[in-house]
């Protein structure tokens, strides 16, 4: 119990200390998914930057409270022209970033890195669920739109 606590604390501190560096690189990767790299101040740039920060912060916490931020990102990705595999690859990106940072610092804690990686794996799977929910929503919208358009005709048919 005691070791777990200290690892956890070391981990949170590590994340806090390197948050800015991780976030910068992560955001860059995410924005580069688009055919022309998306600007930071564009609507997508702003949403990504806010959401990725929330997701990163939540990685350091015991409770997983980044569902909304995850949704914000996948909602954008789910209607883009690139395949899900490419879209969701951004959630694996921090592994490489973290690895790089760890190599450069003295804190080469494999336990910490493993924990981080497994959190990211879980996150990627969650992102997949969320992505699929948005795809399903698109199909739902098509159906709803059809009946809105025919509102009066349907009303007559039901009467």
């Amino acid at each position: 119990m005691v070791t777990q606590y200290s690892m956890k604390r070391g981990w949170t501190e590590f994340l806090e200390a390197n948050k800015k560096a991780i976030l910068e690189r992560w955001l860059d990767c995410a924005l580069a998914l688009f055919p022309e790299k998306m600007g930071y101040s564009t609507p997508i740039g702003t949403v990504f930057s806010g959401a990725l920060e929330k997701i990163l912060s939540s990685l350091g916490k015991r409770e997983n409270d980044c569902k909304e931020a995850l949704d914000d990102v996948t909602r954008i990705l789910a209607v883009q022209n690139f395949p899900p595999s490419k879209a969701l690859s951004i959630f694996l990106e921090p592994k490489l970033i973290l690895h790089d940072i760890m190599m450069k610092t003295t804190v080469a804690d494999t336990l910490m890195q493993e924990a981080f990686n497994s959190r990211l794996d879980a996150l990627t799977l969650e992102a997949f669920d969320s992505y699929m929910r948005h795809r399903e929503k698109i199909y739902q919208l098509k159906v709803e739109e059809g009946s809105r358009r025919m509102y009066m005709a349907l009303r007559r048919a039901e009467a």
């Binding site: 688009f34 055919p35 022309e36 790299k37 998306m38 600007g39 564009t42 609507p43 997508i44 702003t46 949403v47 909602r75 954008i76 209607v79 883009q80 022209n81 690139f82 395949p83 899900p84 595999s85 490419k86 948005h134 795809r135 929503k137 698109i138 919208l141 098509k142 709803e144 739109e145 059809g146 809105r148 358009r149 025919m150 509102y151 009066m152 005709a153 009303r155 007559r156």
Partner: protein, 549 residues
């Protein structure tokens, strides 16, 4: 397996040739060499054979954008070249737009489709370049002048595919032109290219079917006169049930003072019908002498997205009907592109409408000299004037269940410069109104992403991308001010913003402005109102609520 999961070959391709074109300095690269890829969700179904036959349009056939061979007519190149040449002579603006761009890039990141996709060909400057590059090749003199400055290319089938892809990812919203130092209007370039494409049968059924219906029956869905009347009469009954007031619209009545024309979506679609109820209540409230035509039963004009001639023909229908009925002037409902047609093109196409009178409000005496040429007044101007002269009895508390924001429809905002009238109405009919960010409203408004006839169901992916900047601005006021109602004055918005909100901002509903007017109007002889026109409970008016002013 899910139909939108990529095929293995696609995935491999994606990884092999990771898109890297146009990173940085695109002018150095041959961006046009990159083929376009049509797949589910990024193309609209083509015009049906019978629709094309009805309209006498070129090249009716069965085809799909995903086909390798689009079965273009044998002389398609000649048709396009000659079509372009004749239009360059006819429209000086087009030549000016093609010649004067200096590629300053001011427009590049202003298009909602670029902001929603990151696709460089959605930068207005590059979109126009898709035509310009062909124009340069076709017109040697210009090419000589511009040599070394920019590229030119041959007109190939691949170019046609690219045009079809990217001129259908432009909603003709004109946002880019606001930022261009020369006022280059990419929307007009898009209109022209779509017209050229129609000459060789490269088209969109979602646009052409309404055009054909409108041409034959008078409205987009092809609703026949008796059904049209029946629909409005059911709304009259609903109004009776909800308010206890019996409104009495008339149809095709000769000698009425005013002919009222609105997009037909207000007569058959949800939530348009609630806006229609608002109009009917308003006209009853002020005792307007008006009639509705079952022939000119469409304010919208998808001809504008098809060809100049078609736009002219559909617009003329409204004026023929006004003449036949012998009305004094026209009052137009909440529509977007109908107003662009009326405000910018009507007078030179079909005007002047000398047989009509310059509109004067019979209630306030205001003379709408801004409509002296077209004789058609926008309902927002008309109502704002009524409110300004205190001619309406309004109880804005009846909209207290709505926390609103206002979406400027592109065509009304940028196409006719109307910004304040709808806002003035909104402030008078509800107590909670919060503006979206300054760079997303008024002349800088972001398009709904589905304008110009792109609101086809099969196009949902593209529409959600293109509508993202608008939705994002709504989200900000939703988060900050708990906004739950997006108010607008355009029928395409009323149809396309509900799915956009449902996707990006669940919990935000879409309203027509006159629906809120209808909620707020205190009608003579009305019964106690507890619900709004949608039969949603009004805050503070539940049983025991106080409705006295």
């Amino acid at each position: 397996m899910s139909k939108y999961a990529p095929k293995l070959s696609e995935l491999k391709k994606e990884f092999d040739e990771k898109p890297s074109v146009l990173k940085g300095d695109y002018s150095a690269q041959e961006w046009w060499d990159r083929p376009v890829e049509f797949r589910d969700g990024n193309w609209c179904f083509p015009g049906k054979q019978e629709v094309l036959a009805d309209l006498g349009f070129a090249n009716p056939r069965k085809w799909a954008a995903t086909d390798e061979d689009w079965q273009l007519p044998a002389d398609w190149q000649k048709t396009i070249s000659e079509g372009l040449q004749s239009r360059l002579k006819k429209y000086r603006s087009l030549k000016l737009f093609l010649d004067s761009c200096v590629r300053c890039g001011a427009c590049a990141d202003k298009c909602h489709f670029f902001l929603g996709t990151g696709d460089p060909k959605n930068m207005p400057v590059l979109r126009a370049e898709l035509l310009r590059s062909v124009y340069r090749n076709d017109f040697p003199l210009v090419e000589k002048i511009l040599k070394g400055f920019s590229g030119s290319r041959k007109l190939t089938k691949a170019v046609i595919k690219e045009w079809h892809m990217y001129f259908n990812q432009c909603t003709e919203c004109r946002r880019c032109s606001v930022f261009c130092p020369f006022g280059i209007d990419t929307a007009e370039i898009t209109m022209l290219v779509r017209e050229l494409l129609n000459l060789i049968g490269v088209n969109n059924n979602w646009i052409l079917a309404p055009v054909s219906n409108c041409n034959r029956t008078g409205n987009h869905l092809g609703i026949e006169p008796h059904t049209f009347v029946q629909n409005i009469n059911s709304l009259v009954e609903d109004i009776g049930d909800l308010t206890g007031v019996e409104v009495e619209p008339t149809f095709n009545r000769k000698g009425a003072e005013v002919l009222f024309i609105t997009p037909s979506g207000d007569v058959f679609g949800d939530p348009g019908v609630y806006t229609m109820m608002g109009y009917l209540l308003l006209f009853h409230h002020i005792g307007l002498d008006y009639t509705i035509s079952t022939y000119a039963s469409e304010g919208g004009n998808f001809g504008m997205f098809t060809s100049n001639d078609m736009m002219k023909k559909l617009n003329a229908k409204m004026y023929h009907e006004a003449k036949r009925l012998g009305v004094k002037w026209l009052l137009g409902g909440e529509c977007g592109h109908m107003w662009r047609v009326v405000h910018q093109y009507m007078n030179t196409m079909n005007g002047p409408a000398d047989f009509l009178e310059v509109p004067v409000s019979p209630i306030t005496g205001t003379r709408f000299s801004n409509a002296a040429a077209t004789k058609m007044v926008h309902i927002a101007e008309f109502t704002a004037d009524l409110i300004h002269h205190k001619k309406l009895k309004l109880d804005p508390k009846r909209n207290d269940h709505l926390r609103t924001t206002f979406h400027d429809s592109c065509n009304v905002a940028r196409g006719m410069g109307m910004f304040e009238e709808p806002r003035s109405i909104l402030r008078n009919v509800c107590n909670s109104f919060h503006e979206m960010a300054e760079d997303t409203i008024r002349e800088k408004t972001f398009c709904c992403g589905s304008g110009s006839g792109l609101n086809a169901e099969e196009y949902m992916d593209i529409r959600m991308r293109g509508g993202f900047p608008r939705a994002n601005a709504v989200k900000q006021v939703k988060d900050r001010h708990k906004v739950n109602s997006l108010v607008t004055i355009c029928a395409i918005d009323r149809a396309s913003l509900p799915p956009l909100m449902n996707y990006w901002n669940p919990g935000v509903s879409v309203y027509g402005l006159h629906e809120l007017v209808g909620n707020a109007l205190v009608m003579q002889g009305e019964k106690k109102r507890t619900t709004d026109l949608r039969e949603n409970t009004m805050a503070g008016f539940e049983d025991g609520g106080d409705d006295d002013e």
